[in-house]
């Protein structure tokens, strides 16, 4: 175990700060000093410390007051009280408030060594506890999917079960719910885990390009086909093909894929020789494919072919129990990636994140936390760091008439564009005169 720890010395006497600083440096500990309670609290906001040595007698905020604040906001920090005024009462009060130990000035070097030994031992116990706690948290996640809510626990149970079969899987859920993560987890747990996992976003590729990407082409098959290229259906051979946004593919592509799924053979573009393929198909969509079938946009036979097993991922607003866990996970992730010391999030901020509806789901939340971590000036994320989150619209709409909703929407657009009529009218898709008429008719006013 590395016994080096981060220590802060708080004492109004410079000579004491210097002596202890020099002493702890001889052990290779990370040491910082503060001349007063407020300075110490300011430094705690900037970076984490494990131990504080605090003088009890300081002008302004005394050591006991500082101890109380530290124990309230940073309960994990161990505080050793130093005093030349060795009254039993202050020592007892300090220990009752949560001090780990106390030292009477001047003390023998080996007394300090003994205190440090105890602290390091306590730190080890804390680290062991955190390790075990981390182990427990592993149970609340599955690969990179995080959550401990009931819908997520169900999902964790389904993944290993469906992974063993070769049946096609359709994952449904709103954008940002983690469909690709689930597909990857299924692949990772499947007998095909050692073989390729290829993900294609069907919504991002035009039909012709998608055909070439999936089926490959022979040299000279079309203008620009300067060499023969294998398609993903062939490259993925033995592995898992993940087709995201399957609801966006054309009718022709649906037919072509249906044929591949039935025959397990592909014809690359410009070739008449079939190539045998073997892959497991996982598809995903944010659309309601049944509705698309009724509209005649999606083929029913293809739908049943890709939908042997259906997994629906809940929207984040349907599993709000997971928000605090996700917030902590993303905060740690981006704190590590950006090497910023952001390791705390206030209860108010968690309340705000929980109240928000997250239309973009986990992806939106990840982006929000990343932004907050990058811009945060302290180690604690608070409500101010999330001021960019717009209040949720959905609950407001409940029980309202169409006219009321229209009025509120127009008002919101006007506020968003600082009541610039031309810009607001453009966004609303109406002309300026009409917007002026509505403002007058509905008595819309700035700042309401």
């Amino acid at each position: 175990m590395d016994n080096k720890i981060r220590i802060m010395i708080v004492d109004d006497e410079m000579i004491v700060r210097k002596s202890l600083w020099t002493w702890f440096k001889k052990y290779g500990h990370g040491v910082d000093t503060a001349a007063s309670g407020p300075e110490a609290l300011e430094k705690l906001e900037q970076k984490p410390f494990q131990v504080m040595f605090v003088d009890i007698k300081m002008p302004g905020m005394d050591g006991l007051e500082l101890l109380e604040k530290v124990k309230q906001d940073y309960p994990d920090i161990m505080v050793v009280i130093i005093t030349a005024y060795g009254s039993i009462e202050s020592a007892v009060k300090a220990m009752r408030t949560g001090a780990s130990d106390y030292l009477l000035k001047p003390f023998k070097p080996d007394q300090l060594s003994l205190v440090m030994e105890r602290i390091i031992c306590q730190q080890k116990i804390t680290l062991d506890y955190q390790y075990l706690k981390g182990h427990l948290e592993q149970i609340t996640r599955f690969d990179n999917i995080i959550g401990q809510s009931a819908p997520m626990k169900k999902l964790y149970a389904i993944i290993p079960e469906v992974a063993q079969s070769d049946a096609s899987i359709l994952i449904t859920g709103e954008t940002g719910t983690g469909k690709e993560l689930v597909a990857k987890a299924i692949h990772a747990k499947s007998p095909r885990a050692e073989l390729p996992f290829i993900a294609i976003n069907c919504g991002a590729l035009p039909d012709t390009l998608m055909e070439s990407e999936l089926f490959g082409h022979r040299k000279g098959a079309f203008t620009g086909a300067t060499h023969t290229r294998k398609g993903f259906l062939e490259i993925v051979s033995g592995g898992t093909l993940f087709l995201d946004e399957i609801g966006d593919i054309s009718a022709k592509m649906q037919v072509d894929l249906l044929r591949v799924l039935e025959d397990k053979k592909v014809f690359s573009v410009g070739s008449e020789t079939p190539v045998a393929v073997d892959f497991r198909l996982i598809s995903a969509t944010r659309h309601n494919l049944e509705a698309l079938i009724l509209e005649g946009v999606f083929r029913e036979d293809f739908y049943y072919r890709i939908n042997v097993i259906k997994i629906h991922l809940p929207a984040l607003r349907e599993r709000k129990d997971d928000i605090a866990l996700l917030a902590k996970h993303f905060m740690e992730k981006y704190s590590h990636e950006t090497t910023k010391n952001v390791d705390r999030i206030t209860p108010d901020a968690i309340t705000l994140l929980t109240a928000y509806d997250w239309p973009g789901n986990v992806r939106e939340m990840e982006n929000a936390i990343e932004r907050a971590v990058v811009l945060s000036k302290s180690r604690t994320l608070s409500t101010e760091d999330f001021s960019f989150l717009k209040p949720s619209q959905a609950p407001v709409l409940k029980g309202k008439t169409l006219k009321e909703v229209q009025k509120e929407h127009i008002l919101q657009i006007l506020e968003e564009h600082d009541w610039q009529i031309t810009r607001s009218a453009e966004v609303l898709g109406i002309n300026r005169v009409t917007l002026h008429k509505i403002i007058k008719r509905d008595n819309l006013k700035k700042g309401r």
Binding site: N3, I15, V16, K18, S19, L20, T22, W23, K25, K26, Y27, G28, I82, K105, P106, F107, K108, P109, D110, Q111, L112, S113
Partner: protein, 175 residues
């Protein structure tokens, strides 16, 4: 060529102790060392309430002295020294610096108040000097109790540590 390490007597110090310290520095750090002419302990370092010398003030004063021919200096004095906040110190050095001092005052008494044999007294002085010199070579206190960099808070601890550095500290040694 390596610059020598200077062993500087401050006030009256037994000549044999200085020789033992010098020999041990050369033996354990493989570094040439020499005894310097006697220097005077700065009077300003004396704390008349504690009746001890402030080790930090002495080192600050030594900074003004000319030691250009020496890479590091280990001051040796017979009087008791302290570091503010602690009630005494066997030695003091600034981590990674070039000046250290040691005090012989508490080395010539056993825990029970009896006098140690001269050889034990010399051994203690050499260990404290080697330990403080280790700090000048940027070595930290070591967890290994078979290492001269292991912290000794009391005489009995000093008697149990060896003269040498453990393997880890030897490896970390920055000349």
């Amino acid at each position: 060529m390596k610059k020598q390490i200077g062993v500087l007597p401050l006030g009256e110090v037994p000549a044999l102790v200085l020789k033992v310290i010098t020999a041990n520095i050369t033996a354990y750090y493989k570094w040439p060392a020499a005894v310097l002419p006697v220097g005077t302990i700065p009077a300003s370092a004396f704390d008349d309430r504690r009746l001890q010398y402030d080790a930090g003030i002495i080192i600050n004063n030594l900074h003004a002295w000319d030691f250009t021919d020496y890479s590091k200096i280990v001051g040796v004095m017979s009087q008791d020294i302290f570091i503010p906040i602690f009630n005494h110190a066997y030695g003091h050095a600034v981590q990674g610096g070039y000046l250290a001092i040691i005090s012989l005052f508490r080395l010539n008494r056993n825990t029970d108040g009896s006098l140690p044999p001269p050889s034990l007294f010399y051994a203690r002085a050499a260990k404290v000097a080697l330990h403080e010199l280790g700090h000048l070579f940027s070595l930290f206190h070591c967890d290994e109790n078979k290492c001269v960099m292991h912290f000794s808070g009391a005489i009995k601890d000093l008697d149990t540590i060896p003269f040498y550095l453990c393997r880890d500290c030897e490896r970390r040694l920055v000349p």
